[in-house]
């Protein structure tokens, strides 16, 4: 079973001993404490979006949060399911999410939100991180001090690599088309005038096709904890289909979230118009102003990035549960982690099968389903086109060489800062 084994108990609101669960009510942390930790975690996340390597850790942390979010969604959905013996009795695990996750060491790390830095202190009897052994003190200390950070980096690198596999070539096509198109336009190379436009359109079409797949695939990777799950095309496709209009809503969420971010990338270009005194600052002072701005810009970007991924995780969880219940996907198509959770929650294929329909009803219904699916796909594609359009508009308004096309922060690396080469960037 592959989960995220690390979580900092220092950030946990309550230190829980799994052996005492049946006797102890799970204590919820106070609201003030939760607020403080929320702000602290968010602050750390925003800071990490200000540097390329550190923002990889943001992906990893977010993936761990996605797994938690999906688990919670399944727990809610499983709570409505029939118990195996058909009764309505709900065990204590089903009424208390914290108790539920602590019931199994594989999910125990999700009692709280993932940690940014500190590793998890292994509780007595806890074997989730491997056999108990007497590791050298320094190693234990390092693991305790930086365990989560290392985990976030590792998972983040896996997530980024998967995302890059399907997006980097497209970004390269965009970059080429922009360069070629404007070079041909400048030099009046009429004979090759179509090259830039045609490659640009190709890139846009490929990106839209990829984005019909990518958010769900990223969620699958995050929730299962297995990078190979990203490439299970049939499973992801089934999930996207089952998600229906909710997948369209997710794409709309992406497009809407990217608009203010596009504006945010442009704003520094107008600082001088907004405040002419800024033109008198020296480079060091101007860098300071820019960094302050990008910190707050990063806050918005971080919120959007995490929000989108959590929304994708919930969408994934909902679609997966439905696919299993409706026998669209079999139990064998689940990853071990999912199988274990579903077994615990009793999410299984429904015993009630739909009554067979007459072909005079089934055919139109099926046809209607196809039409609806095509319509949804087209609508989703158009929304992703709006997302892409903002990339091009942003490129014109404030061209950032290479990264402007090669990195889309909401999709790839959540890096929300930019210093031009002239200022040492």
């Amino acid at each position: 079973m592959n989960t995220n084994p690390e979580s900092t108990t220092a950030e946990a609101h309550v230190e829980l001993d799994p052996a005492q669960l049946d006797q102890t009510d799970v204590a919820k942390p106070g609201k003030l404490r939760r607020t403080v930790f929320f702000v602290l975690k968010s602050f750390i996340g925003v800071v990490l979006t200000q540097a390329p390597l550190l923002s990889v850790a943001v992906i990893g942390w977010t993936y761990r949060a996605m797994q938690r979010s999906a688990l919670k969604q399944w727990w809610r959905l499983g709570g409505q399911s029939e118990t195996p013996d058909g009764t309505d009795n709900k065990t204590s695990s089903q009424t208390d999410f914290a108790r539920f996750v602590l019931d199994d060491p594989a999910t125990a790390t999700h009692a709280n939100w993932p940690a940014w830095v500190l590793g998890r202190r292994a509780a007595p009897g806890d074997t989730s991180s491997g056999p108990v052994r007497e590791a050298p003190r320094i190693r234990r200390t390092l693991k305790r001090a930086l365990g989560s950070f290392g985990l976030n980096l590792r998972i983040g690198a896996q997530g980024l690599a998967n995302t890059w596999v399907v997006t980097l070539p497209i970004c390269a096509i965009w970059l080429f088309s922009w360069n070629a198109g404007w070079a041909h336009s400048f030099h009046k190379d009429y004979e090759q005038s179509s090259l830039g436009t045609s490659t640009g359109l190709l890139g846009v079409a490929l990106f839209i096709a990829v984005m019909l797949y990518l958010p769900m695939a990223q969620a699958r990777h995050a929730v299962t904890g297995e990078w190979r799950a990203f490439y299970e095309f049939k499973v992801v496709r089934a999930l996207v289909r089952r998600a229906g209009y909710r997948a369209l809503l997710l794409s709309a969420f992406y497009a809407l979230a990217s608009f203010p971010l596009m504006i945010g990338w442009l704003v520094p270009g107008f600082f001088e118009q907004m405040n002419p005194a800024l033109a008198e600052l020296n480079d060091a002072e101007l860098i300071g102003v820019a960094k302050k701005y990008y910190f707050w810009f990063g806050a918005a970007g971080f919120a959007a990035f995490v929000g989108l991924r959590l929304a994708a995780a919930r969408l994934y969880a909902r679609a997966m549960a439905a696919c299993v219940r409706e026998a669209i996907l079999t139990r064998h198509q689940l990853r071990p982690y999912e199988r274990a959770v579903f077994d615990r929650l009793g999410i299984v294929a429904s015993a009630r099968l739909a009554a067979p329909r007459s072909k005079f009803i089934a055919v139109p219904v099926r046809l209607g389903g196809v039409v609806a699916r095509v319509g949804l796909t087209v609508a989703t594609a158009l929304i992703w086109f709006a997302f892409v359009a903002q990339i091009y508009v942003g490129g014109f308004m404030n061209y950032r060489p290479f990264v402007g096309f090669m990195n889309q922060p909401l999709v790839q690396l959540p890096l929300f800062t930019y210093l031009p080469p002239g200022l040492g960037g």
């Binding site: 400048f186 600082f271 033109a279």
Partner: protein, 405 residues
């Protein structure tokens, strides 16, 4: 935000470069040669004196350049202009687009130069990002042709293919001036219209092609909606295009391209049409809007070379040698924004986008002068009027005394 629309408009217009791409066959009309381009339409009205002043060539050193890459000796990409031409005339390194100017766009800057006033311009068709502007007061060309017997084909704007709207800055809507005193235009757009007319007239198109040709020609001619009859053409310009066609063919793939085309058109115009006043609207440096600094600097170098060729062409022509005023002035500056990867990508009404320069050269202009005081772009029209002996009563800017010996 002020200036943004202008910058966007110019950038979008700059992206609409149209190739000819389609060849036409046609018959060759005998070119009507003559020192003044015989076969001309008569001057706008009779009884006016001949123009005996110097020829005037206005170089719009644009679209949009910073002082740094042009007149700054340490960073210039126009070395001939900076090191050889400037010392021969009177140079104003601190010309600005004054605060009264609402916008720092190309169309606005061009009309500032031609009219001598800052005005608020709006697209006549209210198109988003459109720059079909109408000047309220006369342009230099109208002043010249109203006061002197100068035929239309000797008052020329040489325009690029990326900014079709500027084809139609040839006259104002002032009630005492207007279309009858307009300048003519040399551009690829006009050549395409000429080719299409020829093709249709000679019956080289039929059926669907003919219908499409008529539609396209009507669309092109309708852009100059204020000209009902001749569509801004004369026997002289028709002969000019015929000669051009004979030399470069019809495909548009043989002639020079971009701003180099403008230089070629201007030099050929000097030979064939003998303009008394000509404005050349260089523009390719504006491609930096799309993010590539080398397009900007390369375009400046092309303008520098073009300027050199034009000056040499006037020196090689008896009627132009020693008898031609040059004015080199940008339409606008560009931003210097350190927070952008390309600091001069746009010209969104920043301080730097208002910082330009002007250089005057020719008879009546002192040599070697450098005027280190702030002057304004709207001073150009009155200064050229004073040098040429052409009254410019509606220009608000005054003549720059330092440029007049």
């Amino acid at each position: 935000m002020r200036g943004v629309a202008g910058g966007l408009g110019s950038a979008v217009a700059a992206s609409l470069g149209a190739g000819l791409g389609v060849g036409y066959s046609g018959i060759i009309f005998p070119a009507e040669q003559g020192r003044s381009g015989a076969g001309n339409a008569p001057a706008a009205s009779s009884g006016k004196p001949d123009y005996r002043g110097p020829n005037v060539i206005i170089i719009r050193f644009g679209g949009g350049v910073r002082r740094r890459e042009t007149i700054d000796p340490a960073h210039t990409f126009s070395p001939w202009f900076r090191h050889e031409f400037i010392p021969q005339g009177t140079f104003f390194p601190r010309m600005e687009i004054g605060p009264a100017a609402e916008n720092t766009g190309h169309g606005q800057g061009t009309l500032n130069i031609l009219t001598g006033i800052y005005d608020r311009y709006a697209d006549v068709d209210k198109r988003l990002l459109g720059e079909r502007f109408e000047a309220r007061v006369p342009t230099l060309f109208e002043y010249l042709r109203k006061n002197f017997a100068v035929p239309e084909h000797q008052a020329l704007i040489v325009n690029g293919e990326d900014r079709i709207d500027e084809e139609f800055y040839t006259f104002s809507n002032h009630h005492l001036f207007g279309a009858q005193f307009r300048s003519n235009v040399l551009s690829l757009f006009r050549f395409k219209m000429y080719l299409l007319r020829r093709k249709i007239a000679e019956g080289k198109l039929d059926g669907k092609e003919l219908a499409q040709g008529n539609t396209e020609l009507a669309r092109m001619e309708s852009l100059d909606y204020r000209v009902e009859q001749s569509g801004g053409r004369s026997n002289a310009t028709e002969a000019f295009w015929e000669k051009w066609r004979g030399y470069y063919g019809e495909s548009g793939l043989v002639n020079p391209r971009g701003d180099q085309l403008l230089t070629e058109l201007a030099i050929r115009a000097m030979s064939d049409l003998r303009p008394r006043m000509m404005m050349i609207n260089y523009n390719d440096c504006d491609y930096v809007h799309w993010g590539y600094m080398d397009h900007y600097t390369r375009a400046i170098a092309i303008m520098d070379d073009g300027l050199r060729r034009l000056v040499e062409a006037t020196e090689a022509d008896e009627e132009y040698r020693g008898n031609t005023i040059f004015c080199v002035v940008p339409d606008c500056g560009r931003d210097t924004n350190r927070l952008r990867a390309v600091p001069c990508q746009h010209h969104f009404n920043s301080r730097s986008s208002r910082e330009i320069f002007a250089h005057f050269f020719g008879p009546g202009v002192p040599r070697g002068g450098v005027v280190d005081r702030t002057v304004e772009q709207l001073n150009v029209a009155a200064t050229l009027g004073a040098l040429a002996g052409v009254p410019t009563p509606h220009a608000e800017g005054s003549a720059l005394e330092e440029a007049i010996a």
